[in-house]
Every structure is written in structure tokens, then in C-alpha cells.
């Protein structure tokens, strides 16, 4: 398994844990304060360790094929995020009307879910592309 695949699995687990924690906290502290569960997404930063081990051995950790897969997965993930942003605007317009305003915590909620969705889609796309290529 390549470093990128480990990276993708790790991100998937981190995003899954954050989503599970959010829904576990929701009944206890409510949907807004449960957003604290998304702090778990910070663990995604530890995926740099997957590249350090390979670098220490002096072997190539990432090459042109990995970069091509990574770029494609990024494109897929960004496409999903763009669609979700447009959908969120349309939903907000429907709920709050043309002269309404979006609550700040609603914006926070949207950003957290978008980040989570990005991680999940990018990781899944990466794993699928590795399996196919």
C-alpha cells in the first residue's frame, strides 16, 4: 500500500470519527455545540508521518502516477464541494428568503460539513483510482 493510500484511509477514518462523534454529541449538547466534534478533523494533519518513513528509507514515496491520481481525486472532491456550495446557497435562499440573513453558526456548520465531505470524497476517489489504475 502506497503512502497516498495510507493517507486516504487515515483521512477517511478521521472524517468518519468526526461524523460519528458529531451525531453522538448531538442528543447530549445539541446540534450547534456538537460541532466541536469536528475538531477531530485536526488529526488529518498527522498524515504527513506516512511520507516520513518512506523518505528515511531513501526510496521514492510519490511519483508521477501518485501525483496524477492525487490531482484527479482533488478535482473530483472540489467538484462535489462546488455543487454543495451552490446547493447550500439555494437552500439558504429558500429558507431565509431574499432579504434574510444566515446565522454565523450556520455558516460554521456548512464549512465543517464541507471540509468533512471534501476529505471523504477525496479519500474515496483516491482509493478507487488506485484500485482501477
Amino acid at each position: 500500500m502506497s503512502a497516498q493510500q495510507k493517507h486516504a484511509w487515515f483521512n477517511l477514518v478521521v472524517a468518519g470519527m468526526a461524523i460519528l462523534a458529531y451525531f453522538a454529541l448531538w442528543p447530549l449538547i445539541g446540534p450547534w455545540r456538537a460541532m466541536g466534534a469536528f475538531g477531530l478533523l485536526g488529526f488529518a494533519g498527522f498524515n504527513a508521518f506516512f511520507y516520513l518513513k518512506g523518505k528515511k528509507s531513501g526510496r521514492v514515496v510519490s511519483d508521477e502516477r501518485d501525483q496524477a491520481i492525487c490531482a484527479k481525486a482533488h478535482t473530483v472532491a472540489w467538484s462535489v464541494i462546488w455543487v454543495s456550495i451552490i446547493a447550500a446557497f439555494l437552500v439558504a435562499l429558500r429558507f431565509f428568503g431574499e432579504d434574510g440573513s444566515i446565522p454565523i453558526r450556520g455558516l460554521g456548520m456548512f464549512l465543517w460539513w464541507s471540509f468533512c465531505a471534501f476529505l471523504v470524497v477525496q479519500s474515496l476517489a483516491t482509493l478507487i483510482l488506485y484500485a482501477r489504475r
Binding site: 502506497s2 526510496r59 521514492v60 514515496v61 510519490s62 511519483d63 508521477e64 502516477r65 501518485d66 488506485y130 482501477r132 489504475r133
Partner: protein, 72 residues
């Protein structure tokens, strides 16, 4: 054969070069072993620089390593 119609002789050339491992070849041409596996399985079409590096390593022409099917 890959979607691009590209086939290659990497596996044969590897064995003719002292039965070198995929990892050895990967180290020589600066890619990961997974990329060599994908190349040999025809699941990946390499970039031109990588194709040239592989051909140079085996001391053959690029066309002797990679063939485009459907071309005369």
C-alpha cells in the same frame, strides 16, 4: 494492454537483466514499486520522461520497451 493501447516489455527486460526485482527497477528509474506493477499490468501509461528513463536504464530504444498497438 492499457486504455491508451500501450503495451510494454518491462517484465521481460527486467528478467533479462539478472531477474531484477520490481523494487530494484523502481529505485533505478525513481518511481514507486506500485507504478512498476501498474506499468507491467498495462494499467498505466507512463509519461515520456519516465518512458525514456526506463529505456535508457535497459539500454534500448523507447520503442523496444513500449509499443502502441494498432500502429504499423
Amino acid at each position: 494492454m492499457s486504455k491508451s493501447g500501450l503495451t510494454n516489455e518491462i517484465r521481460r527486460l527486467r528478467f533479462e537483466h539478472g531477474e531484477m526485482t520490481q523494487q530494484d527497477l523502481a529505485d533505478q528509474v525513481a518511481v514507486t514499486r506500485q507504478t512498476i506493477i501498474a506499468l507491467e499490468a498495462g494499467r498505466y501509461a507512463p509519461s515520456l520522461p519516465l518512458a525514456i528513463r526506463i529505456a535508457r536504464f535497459f539500454e534500448v530504444k523507447v520503442e523496444e520497451v513500449f509499443q502502441l498497438n494498432g500502429e504499423d
